[in-house]
């Protein structure tokens, strides 16, 4: 087909759904539906998982989301956990056939700042990925425009602490403001009851646990019985109405993909 190829690494399925939705709903990309024979861009075959039966059979293996338009095909590789984007993905890229890796026109990472300074986080990743992409930038949100464009976006906005859900809540406040307000009220009420013990609230009490709970609360209304990932993928967190909230992420994606 003569397309260009871009690979994005993200930390979790929420991030994967989020970037996928931006590409589809706001930038006009189509989505690969999962039929192997329909995979036009064979470069991504390396990322299709093959079960090792001697390993943990319940462990979910990563299958990237693949999105494309006439000019470019983008694979969103998701790897959770401490080792995901710092050890596993670099290892996988190192072992990849050099000719395929060199065929990439763009490589990007999307990570959470959490409670750290975005600049400090990016320094770590830059040192790791510069062995593969020598011009990988050390500034959050910056796109290096060499032969292979590279960059790293730190949620929420490359400057402040936070996570993906921080942006999603801002989107939610634009799209479903009252519902978000009710969700926040609900969580405040739950938090103030004496029913839930310390162990019950362990996850909620973690940094940004409340933000995750707000999104989950909304997701339980928008997609009852389904996960946050499904809601992010299907509902209007990302939409034309929230484009202005997402301008930084959109700018980064357009720049790195040369859209």
């Amino acid at each position: 087909m003569g397309r260009n190829y871009a690979l994005f690494g993200v930390e979790g399925p929420h991030d994967q759904a989020f970037i996928s939705r931006i590409l589809r709903k706001l930038l006009g990309f189509k989505s690969f539906k999962g039929n192997f024979n329909g995979l036009e861009d064979k470069i991504w075959e390396y990322f299709i998982p093959n079960y090792d039966k001697s390993a943990n059979l319940y462990k979910r293996l990563n299958m990237p989301s693949i999105l494309y338009n006439d000019d470019i095909s983008v694979a969103l590789w998701c790897d959770e956990g401490i080792n995901g984007l710092k050890i596993n993905l670099p290892l996988k890229l190192n072992y990849w056939d050099d000719s395929y890796r060199e065929a990439l026109t763009a490589f990007g990472l999307f990570i959470d700042a959490d409670e750290a300074n975005p600049v400090d986080i990016v320094t770590d990743y830059s040192q790791i990925y510069q062995s593969l992409f020598p011009n990988f930038p050390s500034t959050p949100g910056e796109v290096d425009t060499n032969v292979i464009k590279t960059g790293i976006y730190v949620f929420p906005d490359n400057s402040n602490k936070g996570i993906l859900e921080t942006i999603l809540i801002d989107c939610g406040k634009k799209k479903f403001p009252q519902s978000i307000e009710f969700a926040e009220e609900f969580l405040n009420n739950v938090n103030s009851t004496k029913e839930l013990t310390k162990p019950d609230l362990k996850e909620f009490g973690k940094p940004f646990g409340c933000d995750k709970a707000i999104v989950a609360s909304m997701a339980s209304i928008l997609k009852p019985g389904k996960t946050n990932t499904v809601s992010i993928n299907d509902n209007e967190w990302v939409s034309e109405d929230t484009r202005s909230i997402l301008k930084d992420v959109i700018r980064f994606i357009k720049e790195i993909l040369d859209l």
Binding site: S54, A55, L61, N83, K92
Partner: protein
């Protein structure tokens, strides 16, 4: 504990040029597309383990199987890199060169092959017996090949070797082969070498004589238990194996039948027999297996490879094997991880556009991450 081969570089051998395999493990997997040179690497190592033995080189060359007619010469030349021949000397086939580091005393071996139109007159000493006929100068034009073998050893004087200066660390020998004549080799002069066996998938079709010979040696070397262990994995009903009848053939006994000739058993059982017979004869040496998964059903892979890895460890054998099978890779990886202090390394070959061969290496830990955690394709 230092391995026989810690690193090997194939500078030139058949189509391989300047391929370095560093950080070799106890178990070494070689993977890659068809025609990337996997079998050639095994052949190169096989030669390197016996660099001064022309018969071994012919055995390697014969596996290429160019033709039966004049097979000695035709097969042999295709081991060599065939450089661009100069106008002055079109009959030189190039030089094989391999170097290594490790416990093995040989650190470099070379071989060169030249075609000769007129070889030697009867006054000239023929280095190795070509045949018993004396050559009469001028009466006939002879054609043949001259094979020059050299090995370089890191510890000179290690052994007492006939006709070799014990102070030297270089050994050279020339062998002459006339076309269409059987080669008669002098007994081994005690050159440095490593015990080594190369097993290819087609060997399950070897003659009965081959199995009898190997089984006899195995029994003499107290290796029969290895054989019985793997046979029971492949067929739990098998209870015994012997050489029997007036023609000396190998027979296998199982619980349902009395002794039956080995020929009626499937390739899987024969493959297991070949594993055991070959490895038990090369303690401390190198075992080379081409397409390790060949003839083995998926349900026995794990048990067979666990046995194989454990046996290699017990016998101090370093294993090099090629495979196309992800199941085989997973099974060997699991077997290696279960065996303490046994490491596995995988090399994935690629033929580059300029014809050179390169390899990507993964050690035990990284191979485990790619396979166990990521389900990643590693072939």
């Amino acid at each position: 504990m230092k391995k026989q081969l810690e690193e090997i570089t194939i500078h030139s051998f058949r189509g391989i040029k300047d391929l370095e395999l560093s950080g070799l493990g106890r178990i070494n997997l070689i993977v890659g597309p068809n025609n990337s040179g996997k079998t050639s690497i095994l052949e190169a190592i096989s030669y390197y383990c016996n660099p001064m033995n022309p018969i071994k080189i012919y055995e390697i060359a014969d596996r290429i199987g160019v033709s039966n007619y004049r097979k000695n010469q035709e097969s042999l030349k295709w081991l060599f890199p065939h450089p661009d021949r100069s106008k002055d000397y079109p009959y030189f086939y190039g030089e094989i060169e391999i170097t290594s580091s490790g416990k093995y005393e040989v650190f470099k071996a070379t071989a060169s092959l030249e075609r000769r139109q007129i070889i030697y007159g009867y006054n000239e000493k023929i280095e190795q017996g070509v045949d018993n006929n004396r050559l009469v100068p001028g009466q006939e034009t002879l054609t043949g090949s001259e094979l020059n073998l050299s090995s370089f050893v890191s510890r000179p004087g290690l052994k007492s070797i006939n006709n070799i200066n014990q102070d030297t660390n270089e050994f050279h020998a020339k062998f002459v082969f006339r076309d269409n004549k059987d080669y008669q080799h002098d007994p081994d002069k005690g050159y440095h070498h490593l015990p080594c066996n190369l097993l290819s998938p087609s060997m399950t079709h070897n003659t009965d004589d081959y199995f009898v010979e190997k089984l006899s040696e195995t029994i003499k070397n107290n290796g029969i238990q290895y054989l019985m262990d793997v046979l029971k994995i492949l067929d739990p009903d098998i209870t015994d194996i012997e050489i029997m009848d007036t023609r000396a053939r190998v027979y296998i006994k199982d619980k349902k039948n009395d002794f039956s000739p080995i020929g009626i058993y499937g390739d899987g059982v024969k493959r297991g027999i070949l594993f055991a017979l070959n490895l038990s004869l090369i303690p401390g040496g190198i075992f080379l297996i081409d397409e390790i998964e060949s003839s083995l059903h998926t349900t026995v892979l794990q048990k067979v490879f666990t046995w194989l890895v454990s046996s290699c460890k017990k016998l101090g054998i370093q294993l090099f094997t090629t495979t196309h099978s992800l199941e085989a890779i997973d099974a060997i990886l699991t077997a290696t991880r279960q065996s303490k202090k046994t490491d596995i390394v995988i090399y994935r070959l690629k033929k580059d556009k300029d014809g050179t061969t390169s390899a990507k290496r993964l050690d035990t830990e990284n191979l485990s991450i790619l396979r166990n955690e990521l389900g990643s394709e590693v072939r």
